[in-house]
Amino acid sequence: MLDLLQLLSWGESGWGDALLAGTLVTILLALCCVPFGFPLGLLVALGSQSRHAAARLSATVFSTVFRGLPELLTLFLVYYGSQIAAERLMRHFGYEGGIVVNAFVAGVVAFSLVLAAFSSEVWLGAFKAIPAGQGEAARALGLSRWTTLRRVTFPQLMRVALPGLTNNWLTLLKDTSLVSTISLADIMRQTSQAVTATREPVLFYSAACVLYLILSAASGLLFSRAEHHFSRHLHRA
């Protein structure tokens, strides 16, 4: 028993610090996707409600492709695809050296695309839940489209969309483990390394579960705070 605890401890013989480093990578990666993925998803949702057929089509294609493609493939496409493209381009200009795309950046780009695709469905559902009267009232008051979106639609959208976005976030948190294939050491990668070195799979997979559960609990807290914030107008005085 003590041996097992030793394995989870810090320092020379323990894997505690490695797991912690992995957790940091996981959190950073997932957090960096949020400011890109969610707004892009909103944009896609707006696109699929647009009056222009072209915008609708590209929104549908985007959502189908990035929901449909295996995340691993999206990751590869971004990571290796962009590198190959960049190298071709540079060779065209006579530069022969290698270009290295940062794995972290590639991961953020790829998972932002995936997050955008899945969250666009959530945004879309939330749009349907906002009464048409809100938009009409905004138009009757002469508000511009941007003001309407920012001041009227969005705050109401958030309340309805948050539970679904929470699901997206939890999925993202776990999907990011795929970055180990492009040599980023997240929680899962560190776990399997520890398993290889120590041959204690059950211990370390349990530890990984606990880490993820802690992350979920923490983000759950944040999300329910946000939910409370966006529904404050419903609490009776």
Binding site: Y80, V100, A194, T196, A197, R199
Partner: protein, 229 residues
């Protein structure tokens, strides 16, 4: 000048992570010896086995020193140096198994495990699978080993040295070695990008050099008690 070396780090005793953050194993020691010989600095990059060749081609590192067996398909994608060791495959079975033959026909109806994307995996599929065994492919040999121990597998095919290492480390002895598979001797070599002849030649020369000065033999003795070249 540094040499960026890609490795899987999940293949003890050849390469495995250490709790201290670095990597340990035969491959690492060899790589360090080669770098010293070439008077460059070794920089290790750990990488999932599945993405190791694409990563080499995408210049994430310059050479793979990760117990990679030379195969025809791989040789189409990368260039190999001369071998730095050779290994054959072995078969392990549960201690109480009555089987005694390595013959493919003897495994008909049995469940045989191996690591996927590895030469033993291909062997298991091509030989035992065709002979009527059910082949199960695991992400790493460790998991296959644990299924062998728990009785889900009737046999496990794996490279000889890691298999021995695994059985040695296993505290309670569940299993026994059935023997080496004849005709499976594979060359293990360093992979570099296609056309990177300069590096390939330097590495070839360095391998010969560390054999000549005996440092190779010392490393091999330390891990296996014999020279596995």
């Amino acid at each position: 000048e540094t040499l960026r070396v890609g490795l899987e780090a999940a293949y003890p005793p050849f390469s495995a992570p250490s709790a201290k953050g670095g990597y340990v194993g035969f491959d690492i020691d060899i790589a360090n010896a080669l770098c010293r010989q070439m008077q460059v600095e070794c920089q290790f990059v750990a990488q999932d086995w599945d993405g190791i060749i694409p990563a080499l081609m995408a210049r994430k590192f310059d050479a793979i020193i990760s117990s990679m067996a030379v195969t025809k398909e791989r040789a189409e994608q990368v260039d190999f140096t001369g071998r730095y060791y050779r290994t054959s495959m072995s078969v392990a079975v549960p201690r109480d198994a009555e089987a005694g033959s390595l013959d493919a026909a003897a495994f008909k109806g049995k469940v045989v495990g191996a690591q996927s994307s590895s030469t033993p995996g291909m062997y298991a599929e091509d030989v035992y699978g065709k002979a009527g065994a059910e082949v199960r492919l695991y992400p790493t040999a460790d998991e296959a080993g644990s299924d062998l121990a728990s009785g889900r597998l009737d046999a496990l095919v794996h490279d000889k040295y890691p298999l021995i290492e695994w059985m040695r480390k296993r505290s309670h002895d569940c299993c026994r070695l059935l023997g080496d598979l004849p005709g499976t001797m594979d060359d293990i070599a360093i992979a570099v990008r296609k056309g990177d002849d300069a590096l390939r030649t330097r590495l070839d020369e360095a391998i010969l050099a560390i054999r000549a000065d005996g440092s190779y033999q010392r490393i091999s003795q330390r891990y296996f008690g014999l020279d596995i070249y």
